[in-house]
Symmetry: C2
Subunit: 213 residues, 2 copies
């Protein structure tokens, strides 16, 4: 099984301190989105990296629709800057429309579950990344430009936990020093989270589901 | 060089016959989008598959941001149902916000070039897929569920032209019978266009830029 964690993702509710800013009131969004709330965001800490539900959306569209997930060998988690973990049901089909996706995420942050009754597709828990890591089994591989230059296929094992940053720039907020088995760098420039996810997923497919056709 | 063509893509201007429908007038979009114009679209031919600029957007976000493109070894073309070809400059950064992306595509369909002056990032030409194929060199590989079950790495060559369908369901509108070297099927169920693109890109990277780190 491959576990894939998008860590320190920049997805959150509108912070209280900018709730009444005109650009926030105008857009009626429940989720902070830098493309809508740019002018309000200058008032909050770390504003240059926050409000990026688009990164989460792209990450989910790639990973949930992948061959690896269709084969039942992938588990996805979205960890946020506020130490929440969103558990994604492997059967969930991700909404392709971005605006509707944000609406659904708003509902998740409000109620903690989507849908509220029946087969749960997403669940949000207050949890630090250490707590999540303790629950899942496998070699822990952190993708970071500060890691050792290695090929994914050389480090990945049948039970692996791959950790990718869910932010547009800068470094992880969480500390991973004693918590991971390998820190690797797969390219000499920073890559978007969804590109790292695609490289990790296809590397795992090639190594462990060779006879898929 | 790897050339990647999204063929028969479902991206187009609002068709004349539904221009004055309430759902079209309300949304002020220049590009047909099934998620906005659903009720109006029932009046047009093939309405179940049309109006999918989201597929083009995801395809471009994956391919243009890939390691292969950053290494200068990828060329991207979007062919449409109306026999236009959009040439994408490898240096173009794709706008991540979906609504802004559609705005830019609207401008492209209006003027034929984006931006209108200076370094052209996208250019639209009236062109059938045969005409495009005649201009580019390489082994032509069509991805289709009707193809032979083969692994991409076994058929791909250093100069390759990969053709992927840019529609949500059904079959290609263009005919490829005498025009391609291989028709291959990489999975036993239909996959979204962006997932096929990611498999093709990573297969090419593994085979031809092995020493990338």
């Amino acid at each position: 099984m491959m576990h894939l964690i998008l860590a320190d993702s920049e997805i959150e509710k509108i912070p209280a301190e900018i709730k009444n800013h005109p650009s926030v009131l105008k857009n009626k969004s429940f989720i902070l989105d830098a493309s809508l709330h740019h002018s309000a965001m200058r008032k909050i800490k770390d504003w240059r990296r926050r409000g990026r539900p688009d990164i989460v959306h792209l990450f989910l569209l790639i990973s949930q629709e992948s061959i690896l997930n269709k084969e039942g060998m992938l588990r996805i988690y979205v960890h946020t800057r506020n130490n929440e973990v969103i558990y994604i049901n492997p059967e969930m089909r991700i909404i392709k429309n971005y605006n509707r996706f944000k609406g659904l995420m708003g509902q998740l942050f409000e109620t903690g579950k989507v849908p509220v009754t029946g087969n749960v597709l997403m669940e949000l828990k207050k949890e630090r990344i250490e707590e999540l890591l303790c629950k899942i089994k496998g070699k822990r591989i952190l993708f970071t430009t500060k890691g050792n230059k290695k090929k994914i296929e050389d480090v990945i094992e049948e039970d692996s936990v791959c950790i990718i940053g869910g932010f547009p720039s800068g470094d992880f907020l969480s500390s991973f020093d004693e918590m991971v088995d390998e820190k690797i760098c797969i390219y000499d420039r920073m890559l978007p989270a969804w590109i790292v996810a695609m490289e990790a997923i296809v590397a795992y497919e090639n190594k462990f589901i060779a006879n898929r056709i």
